[in-house]
């Protein structure tokens, strides 16, 4: 398992045309092996562009992407090999399904790696298990699956390559709470089972707070903040400046403080913590006189 490092990365769309747009500018960070990192940022802040730079799908205008210390663009012809090691799941990946059966579609990546047929089959089964796709669905056409199942099949298509760094661009977009929960469980499961690092983009602060060990905040193509969720979500001002918000639980606790409960602790940002804090207050309130 290798670490993924990014140094001074920049990317410009339509360079030299009237539509020129700098989408990523001078971004540097490191993803350690086995780490789960959340990426947040306002729409258009360059998250998707950054994610496509990491497996070498876009060529940086400046800066380097290093996997295990090797520059992925050192040899232009060999970039493809890095894509098996840095797996990217695009936003709405269900629109990329194409093969006759789910099994063949998930096996597309492993086949491209040139693996033996038995190995491909074994990886397809493992990936399907991680995303929770039942065996019987593997023989169906991907177009007969439900929306949530399609999403999971498409994610399995990248997991089957067993990348050392898994990147997911808004994997929970457009899903209901149960579907979102499934995807988050899956991220944790893949990370635990394989020891791979996971980098995921999300618009939902609550999801990031619940899963990520570290958060990267993008604002107008620049890395505005990074650090553990507790640290990042404590910087409400900076987040506001990047047009972002703190998790709803943190907001509720802050509101409670303002409403005359000065004993509410700050720096809590997950559902579990918020519930525990309110229960504590309630129990103390029963003993005391405030509630």
């Amino acid at each position: 398992m290798a670490e993924l490092r990014v140094e001074g990365l920049s990317f410009v769309y339509g360079a030299g045309t009237p539509y020129e747009k700098t989408a990523v500018s001078d971004v540097s960070f490191t993803i350690a092996a086995g780490e789960i990192v959340g990426v947040i940022g306002h729409t258009g802040s360059g998250k998707s562009t950054l994610m496509q730079l990491l497996p070498g799908l876009l060529r940086p205008a400046a800066g380097r992407v290093l996997l295990g210390g090797e520059d992925i663009w050192a040899n232009e012809k060999a970039v493809r090999q890095y894509r098996f090691r840095v797996g990217l799941v695009f936003q709405y990946p269900e629109y990329q399904l194409f093969d006759e059966t789910v099994e063949r579609d998930i096996g597309f990546g492993p086949r491209n790696m040139g693996l033996a047929l038995e190995e491909v089959a074994a990886r397809v089964r493992r990936a399907a298990a991680v995303v929770g796709l039942p065996e019987r669905l593997l023989r169906h056409s991907p177009f007969d699956l439900s929306g949530g199942e399609k999403r999971r099949a498409a994610i399995a298509g990248v997991l089957a390559m067993e990348p050392e760094v898994l990147i997911l661009d808004e994997p929970t977009a457009g899903l209901d709470p149960a579907g979102r929960q499934t995807i988050l469980e899956m991220i944790r499961a893949y990370n635990r089972q394989t020891g791979a690092a996971v980098l995921f983009v999300s618009h939902t602060m609550e999801d990031v707070a619940a899963v990520a060990e570290r958060v990267l905040v993008l604002s107008a193509g620049r890395l505005a903040l990074q650090g553990p969720p507790a640290e990042v979500f404590a910087k409400e001002e900076e987040l506001r400046a990047a047009s972002l918000d703190v998790p709803a639980y943190t907001r509720i606790l802050a509101a409670l403080r303002r409403q005359g409960f000065p004993a509410v602790r700050q720096g809590l940002y997950t559902l579990e913590e918020a519930v525990a804090e309110i229960q504590r207050l309630y129990a103390e309130g029963k003993g005391g006189a405030t509630c």
Binding site: G14, P18, Q52, P55, L57, R80, R83, F84, G87, L88, V89, F90, P93, Y95, Q96, L97, F98, D99, F108, G109, N112, M113, F143, G157, V158, M161
Partner: protein, 279 residues
């Protein structure tokens, strides 16, 4: 790679040409094509070339970009020139190799044809560079509206064209996204035999087709939800109105056409005579 399609791409800029009424531009472009074919003698062709160059400069479109529109027709251009070089006759023999003869007439005709094709492409790409596709179909619909009398559904045709044009960038974007997604799974589009490369397109074409059909169905639903029922009684947000500059453009064009006709009539073989005497 798909970003390289420049022919028919709008280039935003502030210029008198951009502000011209799209109907006028469309008519002038058709007129220009006729004039280019009418221009039989060197003087008139030079006249058209000079005017087109001036208009291009006026349009504030980088010269590099306009020249780029010639690239796709380069093979056709060379083929036409070569064929004319050997087949057109007249004048003195310049070169004779085996059965192939090159005459001064052949040289001239080949040059004329190549120049004509260049002018045609430059003239028509000027139209698409300075006019948005929506304006263009709008203009087409207005200009063709007399055909309603012969029960041609001009509005539906224009609407189909507008939708097709509107979705070209969307489909290009979609193609890029799907291509990137399949590349992320190691799809190899750049190497192997022709057959392998064609087969490598399947993972891109199938999702693309499916999404195009999905979009079409969604768009049809959305239009029906907003009570779209064809062109009858439909008014426009953007009304086209002729301005003085449109009149000026028409007058200028008429002068050019008159110049070409007069040159054809009174100055035939002026340059050809010079050319032949110098030889």
């Amino acid at each position: 790679m798909l970003n390289d399609i420049t022919f028919g791409q709008y280039y935003p800029a502030e210029s008198p040409l951009h502000r011209l009424d799209p109907r006028v531009k469309l008519v002038l472009t058709v007129g220009l094509i006729v004039v280019i074919f009418l221009a039989r003698v060197a003087v008139s062709l030079l006249l058209v070339t000079a005017l087109l160059l001036a208009v291009t400069l006026l349009s504030r479109i980088p010269l590099r970009l306009t020249l780029k529109s010639l690239k796709p027709v380069l093979p056709l251009l060379i083929l036409t020139a070569v064929i004319n070089l050997f087949y057109a006759s007249g004048g003195r023999v310049v070169l004779q190799v085996w059965k192939l003869t090159i005459t001064t007439g052949g040289l001239l005709t080949a040059g004329y044809m190549a120049l004509r094709i260049c002018l045609l492409i430059l003239g028509s790409s000027l139209l698409t560079y300075t006019t948005t596709p929506t304006d263009l179909t709008d203009a087409l619909e207005r200009l063709l509206s007399p055909l309603k009398a012969v029960r041609l559904d001009v509005h539906s045709l224009a609407m189909m064209m507008t939708i097709a044009l509107r979705f070209i960038p969307t489909l290009i974007e979609e193609t890029e996204k799907i291509t990137a997604a399949q590349k992320a799974r190691g799809a190899d589009l750049e190497s192997g035999s022709l057959l392998r490369r064609v087969r490598a397109l399947i993972p891109i074409l199938i999702p693309l087709l499916i999404s195009a059909f999905r979009r079409a169905a969604e768009l049809a639903d959305a239009m029906e939800c907003r009570c779209y029922h064809g062109g009858e009684g439909r008014t426009r947000l953007k009304q086209l109105r002729l301005a003085p500059r449109d009149g000026a453009a028409l007058v200028l064009f008429c002068l050019l056409a008159a110049g070409v006709v007069l040159a054809n009539r009174f100055l035939p073989g002026l340059l050809y005579g010079l050319f032949a005497r110098l030889w």
